[in-house]
Symmetry: C2
């Protein structure tokens, strides 16, 4: 089809993929600049590279070259791997069932009422997305979960404290999800939780479950501490693709999800997207469309809009999947690229976002294309005046928004699944995972590492060590007055550390009397004064 053909022409002449068995459709008739013939010719090499790369990944080659390991998330749901995953799921589900039905009791022979999922990044976003897909946002109210479910995914003393005050710790379990156990936020939350348990004469062993890699220091620690359960994920499973492993299974078991269906849905989509024929492989089609937009128009944001409240955390989940995988500065060979790669994802729920950022998407800067996700069948409906029913109104806005995008010359693609269930959520996750892998293959980058996350961690570690030095210096001298530069000199540090030191001194001034922050400085008198360009501090032991 030529570029100028109408949406209706493209719509009815091959710019759609439909899977008869599941009802899944990818409609790319709205990708108006996408010319299949041109792409097949121009991107032949990239398409071959994408398919080859996927083969290498699935064959167990060490494709995560910078970390020297293979990547197994596709294989966890393929053939014997799928059988193993299903078996693991049932064993995890059976173990958690004993907690949910009150057969496993705490040290006071009481059942458990609350579980905290303690994890961050990939250990958080997948469990949250699948939970909300099943129950909606307010899953702890009126959904009859046997244990209330909470999440800690930060190192935030306020929200930690708020949660602790709400819970009866003697009836609470923390599920600590960390591949290595080294994640500072997760480790810190667990440490604090266990300190609180000990203060109340409770046994950490009766209140912790761990998900980690076998043989990791965290695995050993958890087993030595007699934790209720230690479930394993493979070292080959990356965080942002771990939702199909024990990382997703333990929360799913607490939430009562049909996780076997989720795995089957992933597996089914993998099968569809192993096809070498571009037009019969929806993940490859999507990857080629995204790549084409970037070639033709430069980088664009991908707006992901789910027309269902059940998809509230979907865009957030895919934000990590795409951006952490594709935002890279090096080639597979480790050379710095002339231009870094990436694909920025943002999104939310329709119709809500129509009343929020869609004004700009429709009429403002042409910096994005839209990726719709919706379900064909609804579980219930309510008659109304304007549209016939509440659900028909939703469809009208979904279709109306697409029409308006066409009128405004904005591109979109649309994924439609038959209905909201675990199988189709598995299909959706697998589809986008494979899009990401294909793009990685086309661009010749490593979509499986995350070196940029390390830089912030190292700087934070440096900050922590300076913070301890500052406290030590204050305890030693008992008195300090001057700027961060003065403290920097006193510590023998480079002046470039002054901003870090100022942040620490400000933190001390604001928080030295706050319980737990700087217990050794509690009795100090601290003040700051803004001198126009920098702060001057006065800190002394009274």
């Amino acid at each position: 089809m030529s570029k100028s053909s109408s949406y209706t022409d493209r719509f009815s002449s091959g710019y759609r993929f439909f899977d008869n068995k599941t009802g899944f459709m990818l409609n790319y008739a709205g990708a108006s600049g996408f010319d299949l013939n041109r792409v097949l010719k121009r991107d032949k090499k990239e398409i071959t590279a994408a398919l080859d790369y996927m083969k290498q990944v699935e064959a167990g080659k060490a494709v995560n070259v910078s970390e020297g390991r293979k990547v197994d998330h596709f294989n966890l749901r393929k053939g014997a791997g799928l059988l193993r995953s299903v078996t693991l799921w049932h064993s995890i589900n059976d173990a958690i069932e004993q907690i949910k039905n009150g057969k496993v009791l705490n040290e006071k022979d009481k059942s458990y009422t609350d579980v905290i999922m303690n994890g961050i990044g990939g250990s958080f976003l997948g469990p949250l997305m699948t939970l909300i897909a099943k129950y909606g946002n307010d899953y702890n109210f009126g959904c009859h979960l046997p244990l209330r479910i909470h999440f800690l995914s930060n190192t935030d003393a306020w929200s930690f404290d708020t949660l602790m005050h709400k819970l009866n710790l003697s009836r609470t379990i923390m599920v600590n999800i960390s591949k290595s156990g080294g994640t500072a936020e997760t480790a810190g939350n667990m440490e604090t939780f266990n300190n609180l348990l000990l203060t109340r004469k409770l046994k950490p062993g009766k209140h912790n479950i761990t998900v980690t890699t076998p043989g990791s220091p965290f695995d050993l620690y958890s087993r030595e501490s007699g934790f209720m359960h230690v479930f394993h994920m493979n070292n080959e499973t990356g965080g942002r693709t771990s939702v199909g492993s024990a990382v997703g299974m333990v929360p799913a078991a607490f939430a009562g999800l049909d996780f076997e269906s989720f795995l089957q849905g992933e597996s089914y989509m993998d099968k569809l997207t192993r096809r070498a024929d571009l037009l019969r492989n929806p993940a490859l089609t999507l990857a080629v469309i995204i790549n084409d937009v970037i070639i033709r128009e430069g980088h664009k944001n991908q707006i992901m809009l789910g027309y269902s409240d059940s998809l509230k955390e979907m865009a957030h989940y895919f934000q990590q999947l795409f951006m952490e995988s594709l935002g890279k500065k090096k080639t597979l060979q480790g050379r710095i690229r002339k231009e870094p790669t990436g694909l920025t994802i943002m999104g939310g729920v329709g119709t809500g976002e129509q009343h929020a950022f869609m004004q700009q998407v429709q009429e403002g800067i042409r910096d994005c294309f839209v990726h719709f996700i919706s379900f064909r069948k609804r579980s219930t409906d309510f008659e109304n005046t304007k549209a016939g029913s509440m659900g028909r109104q939703l469809l009208a806005f979904l279709e109306g928004t697409q029409r308006a995008l066409l009128e405004n010359g904005r591109d979109f693609v649309s994924l439609v699944f038959e209905e909201q269930n675990e199988f189709n959520m598995g299909m959706l996750v697998a589809l986008e995972e494979r899009v990401v892998t294909f793009l990685g293959g086309m661009w010749g980058i490593n979509p499986f590492d995350q070196p940029g996350v390390q830089a912030g961690k190292l700087s934070a570690d440096n900050h922590n060590s300076i913070s301890k030095l500052v406290v030590f210096k204050l305890l030693e001298t008992e008195s300090f007055s001057g700027s961060a530069f003065d403290m920097s000199r006193a510590l023998g540090k480079d002046k470039e550390e002054a901003p870090t030191i100022e942040a620490i001194l400000l933190d001390i001034v604001s928080n030295h009397k706050v319980r737990g922050a700087y217990p050794d400085l509690k009795g100090f008198r601290c003040s700051k004064k803004w001198k126009g360009n920098i702060f001057s501090f006065s800190i002394s032991n009274v």
Copy 2:
């Protein structure tokens, strides 16, 4: 300062604004390419235009030219306007207090237990943000709210039904927030709620509160229906800047917020940002920095990262404020611009996002700059091994991430408030509102209308009317087989409507047996078949 000066040099020589009274700081030393001298020279005209425009807005000129109205959100918190707002707040709060303390009872002399905030866009995002800022995400569990608070901000039958099943409707109030009452989602949810009440022999008057403009059809309807309360917002208050009006006040009253402080915080920031001196006006400084980035480097996404779980919905709120205000294709004079304007916002909570999209921000495509928001003082803390305390770990990640951005040559600005409270949330909201207005003035666009939202609504209305025609045709003929093109012809519609018609026919096939969706077609036999490029349908009355 020259562009090549170090962060520490800029940090200590004027690239920061500090307000001594409140402790608010804007640090733009991390905006590495920002050269103050160049900008003051190059952008003289734009800076003057920004200040002039703000003066016109605050003087009550009809600055929303396309809608022919003035814009009053700044004046609602200035001088006599502030006094009126505080008075309105206290009267709303007093009225809601009677519900909260059980003095106002339902038709069965029972107190109310649940309230549903029914609104979308600006009637949703502000109330949600301020609620979470106070209580965190799980406000209905253990926060001792007198009534549980729920939100409906979509036309989603599943989430509506899920909520209804959880509630005792006889003890539930719906707060319907709509400037005109014409918002389809809000009107549809209210209609359905009231139908359910009537089915259960309950009186809608005892279960509804309205927030709308005086004299609107919705105002009249609500008063005629004897709703519990009808609170008014001004016609001059735009949805996305309505959080300081009754739109924010009613939810705040149910939530027990100190809303007077919020208004005072807004008012105080307005004062700071009325200054003509760029360097003493943090909103103007920020606007100039954003404009400078766009001039020098082209459009960039603004990543808003709040280092506190209390800011979970902040980026979402500002996404609407910036993108609906600034994403425009026309000039103030109504001419189509050569290039549309806009500023894309995305974000989330630190440290969480460090483990999600920050890999790309650090090392991937250079498509963004980062806008940090944090609080200096915390309410509590917990000692730990790695950082000294949980809160110190958060600071380390905040500072460490900024350091890593500098190392990677990525720009950022940082807002720091003394602590999380309503006053400072008001300051934050007002600051960004004024940044947006200044940018509108600099770019010569109307930041107060949203014409692009209309296009989707009109298309949806068209969809609705076709949907009803299709149902009518099926009832008339009792039998249809063929494609959407065939139905299009049967209806005498243009073939370009075929995609809409296909979506409707698919909806009928999938949902005709679902309660409430297509009651007249419940007895029909419906099926679809994929013919390679389009669907063929068979629908008949059996």
